[in-house]
Chain length 356, copies 2
DNA sequence: GGACCCTGCTTAAACGTTTAATCAGGATAG
DNA sequence: CTATCCTGATTAAACGTTTAAGCAGGGTCC
């Protein structure tokens, strides 16, 4: 009938000590006026009885569930593990649980997922919006993880600057004709990264952008991207805007017999799981997910605190406004000086510290 | 102070109709004895007022939170998105929410994560255990997703049979000397897959197993695995027990100028995101995560139902015992007849239906 | 025509907290 | 000596449901 609660509740420990339940509550929360000695006795008894507060009852009384919602555009996204892990960690540190909701890429499902979370009474939610979606006013504090160029209460990596760093890296290596590879132009994140790349490469470098979705619309999903031809045409660097695309580029080029990085360079974004273990290991940009998650959760807890007494209309705004967290360039073996005959020595093992 | 509830509760709609709150409850749940006409009126009024039941209050009264916990060994695992998505979906269909907990690979953190979930009052939990971990008796129904050879209430893919299928596939192609690649021998899943592979390949095929962790213990993380040498030694197939290892093998071989699949074949397991888009696209085994999740959630809901009135000691056992779900062979371009000079025509695009 | 059952509803308690209001008593102030 | 304040506790209500128990009235059975 009930979940197997340890049976000991506040009344039990109150009875054991001959005091009232309210006093126990005050003693444990440190809120009311309770003598220090009694506080000690209560603490001891609670520990002895293995008392575990009922978060449900507390939620009912206070209206706060202590749970944050995490809305993801598509859990199958390979970046998701990083996000979820970071958010879960940050939330746990702040004493919150994390309820997940997958919107399966569908925009309708996204609002439905949000509603499910609301019905469950989450105190706030962090939303990673589906590409191009704007989050309407939900009935609770919301933190959006996207890109700074998205309007709203956003915290995110500085994708533009990340692109710029990567652009400068490639330019410094001597690349003068580089192909930028993205999946689709509807993504704010990808657009920012590409904008940054162009800026970082500078005016002297010739750029062309290839959108995978466009190619696939013509030739079918998973089709070859024709990168070997691009290499023949003089492109010496292939800067993908995601590690998944970078991997695709890398394998396609290798398969065509074009050596990376001696002949051409390939770079990615996000430092996904496989980036350090492929050969050659991918040069990529890493986001500081832990910091992003901390900021998002901090913004939420702040808004939740502040929501005490404020009219519903005002809730939903996360104070912090916009935060952008710098990205970090991770240089591995897939980028190098173009058309170098210098064998890159023996490929040295990468420090494989995936877990930040 | 409170989460922004729409303000309308049962009492509101009871008052509006001049009946008691209990009647409203009965009408909406269909439990007590209420006249059909009144049920209709209550429904209408509820809709009109935009009534949303307080799951918190219900949880307090019934002892059921309607939330399932999902414990993962390491969210960063690339297989995780599939699991989480499937579980979330199955749980949502069954009317449950999903609370996540990451044990960060640490065994201590695993029990701690479980405790956090228990305190939050989850009705049950599905656990993907850390390699080699056995789940102790928690205080609630538990479904374990691992491998059938793990003792306990397990539901999982039939990893052994998956290995056997893959083994038969390679043997049928004519491979007679194959290298099996796993990360570490402490994983039940990987051991099952390797056992299946050996069985599927049959007695005529020469096998050798390479454990990545062992190699890395000597040469450092992310070091080359020396696969080119293995190819020279006559191995024509590299059957990895995970797509991540397969990808590592594929890129290492390609980089060494060994053509896949003309010269050697490479196969993986799990059909992870990148498998269809690398060149050549990976031949792999897919698990039917949706079915696994359905079984796990069904087992849990069953146990939760049944837990009404049973002594705590008996709870925790999931009735279904063990379920094993068949895996599906996905043949793409990375496997073929060994040492064939027949160029595999033009590499045809794979049907990229990632989403099962 | 009385005993009995069925229907449709109400009353009241309970779940385990938090918290506002109250209160007894001692100390302090005037 | 009384009015006031502070301290350390208690009482009671409240959060929004669910559910066991009760009850009034009409029908049925013999």
């Amino acid at each position: 009938m009930k979940t197997v609660r340890t049976g000991s509740n506040m009344s039990a420990i109150a009875a054991a000590l001959g005091v009232s339940a309210a006093t126990v509550s005050n003693a444990l929360s440190g809120k009311g006026r309770v003598s220090p000695e009694l506080v000690e006795k209560v603490r001891a008894k609670a520990a002895e009885l293995g008392y575990v507060p009922s978060l449900t009852a507390r939620a009912l009384r206070t209206g706060r569930t202590g749970v944050l919602g995490l809305v993801l555009p598509d859990i199958a996204n390979p970046l998701f593990p990083q996000i979820a892990q970071a958010i879960e960690n940050a939330a746990a540190n702040a004493g919150f649980g994390v309820l997940i909701a997958d919107s399966r890429g569908d925009i309708g499902q996204q609002t439905e997922a949000i509603n499910r979370l609301l019905e469950r009474g989450v105190d706030g939610m962090v939303i990673v919006p589906r590409r191009g979606t704007r989050i309407a006013d939900v009935g609770c504090p919301v933190a959006v993880i996207d890109t700074p160029s998205t309007p709203g209460n956003t915290v995110s990596a500085d994708h533009w600057d990340g692109g710029a760093q990567m652009g400068r890296h490639l330019a410094a290596l001597g690349h003068r004709k580089v192909l930028l590879i993205g999946t689709g132009s509807s993504s704010n994140v990808q657009n920012d990264r590409i904008g940054g790349l162009k800026a970082g490469l500078g005016a002297d470098v010739e750029c062309e952008t290839l959108w995978i979705e466009k190619v696939e619309a013509l030739s079918g999903k998973g089709c070859p991207l024709g990168l070997a031809a691009k290499a023949k045409a003089g492109f010496t660097a292939f800067a993908a805007v995601s590690d998944l695309s970078a991997l695709r580029a890398l394998t396609e080029l290798q398969r065509a017999g074009i050596r990376v990085p001696e002949k051409v360079s390939v770079t990615g974004f996000d430092d996904l799981v496989w980036s350090p273990v492929v050969t050659p290991a991918l040069t990529t940009m890493r986001m500081d997910m832990a910091k992003i998650a901390d900021l998002a959760v901090a913004a939420l807890t702040g808004a939740i605190e502040a929501a005490g007494g404020i009219e519903p209309g005002m809730a939903g705004k996360v104070a912090s406004g916009r935060d952008r967290v710098p990205m970090q360039l991770v240089v591995r073996q897939s980028s190098g000086v173009p058309n170098s005959h210098a064998q890159t020595s023996t490929i040295k093992p990468t420090a494989g510290e995936l877990t930040r």
